[in-house]
């Protein structure tokens, strides 16, 4: 996961601000109910699947719904747009109840995952579609659309049909189309998923700028932690239709509370009981940490902090030493991700050279160590 590097690369100064904002687990009330912005509890029943997610956001906020496939993120988004009816809960936007409002009457703009640009219309007409439907005259709608395309740097492509646009251009047209109706709530479903890696970088930066300019609430859905962390001020992690963790990007990256998030941000995560600097893990062995805590805690450390040895290191001062076995190897950029089983199941990252020197192969026995300073313990 590249997410880890990105998250931990953040200057440490961020951490202090993040800790000000407490990590709330499943707090559905959301505390303050603002007059402006979004205040909702989305309950949707779909056969065996049950979604119950509460969200609040002030104007100008960018909230990311992060979660694995099938967690209910997209369903939540569709419920916000009015494409899926609420079974229960409420939906207020700028103080106005929208529960019973049909989608076409909601002040909501949506950027769909694969954009869903109307293939028979030009970029300009795609963007003008919303204003037209909301009552603008033909000329006025086109003028507005032209302005939006200008803002997106797409003035030259106004006459192009969607299939002639590159992925990044299509994404911007989709954004322009959603914004052209002046929505009070902007929804983005996996806004970068359809792009290749290179375009993604560029579009992500642009999108971040446009979202920063957007004065109303934006909610984006993604399964990519990097997108979430770069684009959003606040992350809401959804698993199995529930909110499992909520907080600032850096906070969530440093203190994951579920295996899913830990994996997502590329951390080894364990639950255990702390007693001073020692944490007795539920999984078996103990870990020595720098934090002085007691009671139930999480311990996390990045795979890059793990060092592997073919023989038991004799001179090593590391207290956290486990005997493991290689379960699998996988190339990860210019690194090798090693999956280990044994005393403690963990993931380790090492360079290709180091992996070759160790002669790693599935089934090979290895010794793994982690320095206490590279672990991070926090109350569960």
């Amino acid at each position: 996961m590249t997410g880890l590097g990105e998250a931990s690369d953040r200057p440490d100064g961020d951490d202090t601000t993040d800790t000000d904002e407490p990590t709330t687990a499943v707090d559905s009330t959301g505390g303050h109910a603002p007059d402006g912005g979004l205040d909702t509890r989305l309950v949707v029943d779909r056969g065996t699947f049950h979604l119950d997610v509460a969200l609040t956001a002030a104007p100008g906020d960018v909230v990311a719904l992060l979660g694995p496939n099938g967690a209910g993120k997209t369903t939540a988004l569709r419920a916000l747009a009015g494409l899926v009816p609420l079974a229960d809960g409420h939906l207020r936007l700028d103080g106005v109840a929208l529960d019973r409002t049909p989608p076409e009457a909601r002040p909501v703009g949506v950027v769909f995952q694969d954009y869903l640009l109307f293939p028979h219309l030009t970029a300009l007409d795609n963007v003008a579609f919303g204003p037209r439907c909301r009552g603008a005259g033909k000329a006025e709608a086109r003028a507005r659309a032209t302005a939006w395309l200008d803002r997106m740097g797409l003035a030259d492509h106004a006459g192009a049909k969607p299939r002639r646009l590159s992925g990044g251009q299509a994404q911007r047209v989709a954004l322009a189309r959603a914004l052209a109706t002046n929505p009070r709530l902007l929804l983005l479903d996996e806004p970068l998923a359809a792009l290749d890696a290179r375009t993604r970088l560029e579009v992500r930066a642009q999108l971040r700028r446009h979202l920063a300019d957007f004065e109303a609430v934006a909610v984006l859905v993604t399964h990519d932690p990097l997108d979430a962390m770069v684009l959003a001020d606040r992350l809401v992690v959804v698993e199995n239709g529930r909110v499992v963790q909520e907080g600032g990007p850096a906070d969530i990256a440093r203190r994951p509370r579920t295996d899913y998030i830990a994996q997502l941000v590329g951390l080894n995560l364990y639950r255990g009981r702390a007693d001073g600097h020692t944490v007795r893990l539920d999984a078996g062995p103990a870990i020595t940490t720098t934090e002085d805590l007691s009671g139930p805690v999480f311990v996390a450390f990045p795979p890059g902090a793990v060092t592997l040895y073919a023989e038991r290191p004799t001179g090593s001062s590391a207290r956290n030493l486990w005997h493991c076995e290689v379960a699998g190897l996988e190339t990860h950029g210019d690194q090798i991700r090693v999956d280990l089983t044994g005393e403690l199941p963990l993931a380790a990252d090492l360079t290709t050279v180091a992996a070759a020197e160790l002669g790693l192969h599935p089934g090979a026995p290895v010794w793994a160590t982690v320095k206490a300073t590279q672990t991070h313990a926090y109350p569960a």
């Binding site: 747009a81 009457a105 869903l116 109307f118």
Partner: protein, 269 residues
């Protein structure tokens, strides 16, 4: 392993158990047409075709088939949308009913139309009493009979296209403020245009060849209700050569029209 990009192997790749029946099927479809061409009275053809009745019947055929297609479009496309995009109790049953004319012998369809819209029919008697409208033995009757038989082709074709089309385009339109009807008109309709065109062509071709329902419901009167198939059938009674000549005209016209449409419409699909 065969290198990619090497041509020529197409025919060898086709398994014989598929190839042989396929060729038999193709031959079966083509041979009667070839026989028609081989045995056509080419020498008499100019004389046969000079008759104004032929052109009268052809003109009527084209007029009625086109009108029936238009009528099918006006009511058939919304019906297809209803079947593809909405949920209501008994939808499957309604769908089966729509396809019924496909299996009904057209003559029975004609009788059913008489019983419904005839001068003495369930609805026809009121049409006659209130508006003085009688449909049997009129050109309108021909159009109705052809529509009855041809519309299911259009509905089935358009419904299939609608089901294959991404319904999220309609959703995208509604999030932009479009009502469901506007979304249908401005987004779905253009998107499924190729399917509609294909369905319309099918319906048109079916209407053009319609015989049983037409002659039963609308009768046979030159210039008013005698379309080409009726003329062909009656010519067959005592002048098979004329019947073949008429059939060739019908064949040529339909091939010309379908080929023309193919270039203009179908390429989009």
């Amino acid at each position: 392993m065969r290198k990619p990009g090497v041509p020529r192997t197409g025919a060898r790749m086709v398994p014989v158990p598929l190839l042989v029946p396929a060729l038999v099927g193709l031959a079966f479809l083509l041979l009667p047409l070839i026989a028609l061409l081989v045995r056509a009275p080419w020498r008499d053809l100019p004389g046969q075709l000079a008759s104004p009745e032929v052109w009268q019947a052809l003109r009527l055929s084209l007029l009625c088939a086109t009108s029936a297609t238009a009528l099918s479009l006006v009511v058939g496309v919304p019906l297809a949308w209803l079947l593809a995009r909405t949920e209501f109790p008994g939808r499957g049953f309604v769908r089966a009913l729509v396809t019924l004319p496909l299996v009904l012998p057209p003559v029975v369809g004609g009788v059913a139309l008489l019983l419904a819209f005839g001068r003495n029919g369930v609805i026809g008697q009121w049409l006659d009493a209130w508006f003085g409208i009688t449909l049997p033995f009129t050109t309108t009757g021909v159009i109705l009979a052809e529509t009855f038989v041809a519309m299911p082709f259009l509905v089935i074709s358009v419904e299939g296209t609608l089901r294959a089309a991404d319904p999220r385009f309609e959703e995208a339109a509604t999030t932009l403020g479009a009502s469901r009807f506007t979304a249908f008109r401005r987004v779905t309709l253009p998107l499924i245009a190729p399917g509609i065109a294909a369905g319309a062509v099918l319906a048109w071709a079916r209407a053009l060849g319609e015989f049983g329902a037409t002659i039963t419901f609308a009768g046979n009167f030159p210039g008013r209700t005698q379309t080409m198939p009726l003329a062909v059938y009656l010519a067959l009674q005592n002048d098979p050569a004329a019947a073949i000549a008429l059939s060739l005209v019908l064949l040529a016209v339909s091939i010309a029209v379908l080929a023309g449409l193919r270039d203009r419409w179908m390429r989009a699909s």
